[in-house]
Symmetry: C2
């Protein structure tokens, strides 16, 4: 049986639509239905299903845990959006905007509890190890968010700290999704770890590419305002490297742009991009990003599973990497 992404995605969406949340209290459960219905690309649960498929044909046994991972991801978005005071998520009002902050806090809390319901059908023999790994991953995602918030008010962020932050905040959940799917499908601990490595490395590379696209992306394809990170002084890999490498006049100029309270957005983007160009930041970021992708694909190569089967995962990851928004 071949793995069909579109079919799996349709099944996931179908299951998510029928999740058994109570009707009352409405204000508690409606936001959960709302955020889950406004579907993203369902990358994580698809990775979980593919992880399973690498070791066993059907993936029905991985469906509910996969949805748990997707619910957890959406739970983090719901609470992160409060912390970041984000008005929009995937083009529609965030939960704390549509309802209010208290509602967003409490709905998120119950959503996190409901994540754990999705694991209850896991074979009791491996349930403890799945939960232990999930808990660790979930805590790491929170740690990543905390580091990200710390960085906002930190003068100088080191490259290594930034890489660790994005690993925690976004990559570990991709790694866990694959690892969990594999373990549910009967993979050995070693095999599952290779997939986790694949997912984590692709995840970090992916985030670095995201940082790059903000500055060097094609405005027609890129979903957001090109240069948005520059305008907001967001501590991306590019800015962190530039702050590290800039010297003398260049350093002063960069810092001056960061301190300026009133400015023309287009001019700031042009000027800061100019500094990035002078410092060869694009190349550095691409090299870093590609080295993570390579490390990820090497782990996948080492996985002792038939190449035809691994191709599904390889193609799926390549599609993610090549996306331009």
């Amino acid at each position: 049986m071949a793995f069909e992404i579109e079919k799996a995605l349709a099944e996931l969406n179908q299951e998510i639509e029928h999740l058994p949340f109570k009707a009352e209290p409405q204000r508690l459960y409606d936001p959960i239905r709302y955020i889950l219905a406004n579907s993203g690309k369902r990358v994580r649960p698809l990775l979980a299903l593919i992880g399973y498929y690498l070791f066993d044909d059907t993936y029905a046994k991985a469906m509910q845990p996969a949805i748990g991972v997707e619910m957890f991801h959406n739970f983090t978005l719901l609470h992160d959006d409060i912390m970041d005071q984000a008005p929009l998520r995937r083009g529609i009002p965030t939960v704390h905007e549509k309802w209010d902050e208290n509602t967003a806090i409490l709905s998120g809390d119950v959503m996190l509890v409901k994540v754990y319901d999705r694991f209850l059908g896991v074979d009791p023999e491996i349930l403890p190890v799945i939960l232990q790994k999930f808990n660790r991953c979930a805590a790491e995602v929170c740690e990543g968010q905390q580091y990200d918030m710390n960085f906002e008010t930190s003068d100088r962020v080191q490259e290594a700290d930034y890489l660790e932050m994005i690993r925690l905040k976004t990559a570990v959940l991709l790694g866990f999704s694959l690892e969990m799917g594999a373990l549910l499908g009967g993979a050995s601990a070693g095999e599952a770890t290779l997939l986790k490595e694949f997912g984590e490395n692709i995840g970090v590379g992916f985030q670095l590419k995201d940082d790059l696209l903000d500055v060097y992306g094609d405005q027609r394809k890129f979903g957001k305002q090109v240069g948005g990170d520059i305008i907001a002084n967001k501590k991306t890999y590019l800015l962190i490297k530039a702050l590290e490498l800039a010297e003398g006049e260049q350093s002063e100029k960069l810092n001056a742009w960061m301190e300026k309270k009133e400015f023309d957005g287009a001019e700031k983007v042009r000027e800061v991009t100019g500094i990035y160009n002078d410092l060869n930041i694009k190349h550095l970021a691409e090299t870093q990003s590609n080295s993570y992708f390579q490390k990820g694909f090497e782990a996948l190569e080492r996985l002792p599973v038939a190449v035809e089967r691994k191709k599904v995962l390889f193609d799926f990851a390549q599609n993610l990497i090549n996306r331009e928004k």
Copy 2:
């Protein structure tokens, strides 16, 4: 072996002090240490240990899950305090006051994840049922908090709705603590359910007594300002019953006091208490509270466990009931 409350409490506090939270990021894990160190009475984990003791002498196997329940309780306080904008908790600044709201949200989130770590050592054979029951209870606690918030802006709250709200918000976790302890100790499903019934009923009775103490408590023994609920128009059992029973002039007077924006606190407390007295509210609340206590103790009586052993739980509950703050 007899069950010694003081010894169990010391063991619990010892274990809680040594919970394995990371040092970093500090801002994520310090608030968890902070709220857990400012210990309450540890009622819930003690109930879990006693529940275990009813079926098996030692209670080491219940220790970690009992701490999980205590952590969950403190997690709810942490997030509820944000929602209620409470400045103090057990006499010291709340987490969102000492740090900030974002910190309180995120620390709470990771704390909830860490609750589930406490269950990982449970015998895999009963882990799924323990988790399923815990998840249900945890979601119900959130539902209770949501109903409580809904009531704040609701004109008329029905007695039955109020009783259901306090059952969800506070009683079910007491019931679950006992039920979980019993199941871990080898109780049958029926025995565990009797203990859950005991805990839930005592919990509701207890909350009703709390409502009573706010108005009729002895100021010297009561921890808070007597009449605080009246001043704040808090929808307690007393106010809900008074609004239901008051007619004509009395009803107008009560509503006028509730609508007044500027008033002398002592006068409002005296006047509203006067209305309560005229309506015999104290007696109604005491009767309601006692009927829950009685229902609880009846469930305990039906439990087929030696009377000497049940005495520990009976005495513990009586102590809670007779407390005046």
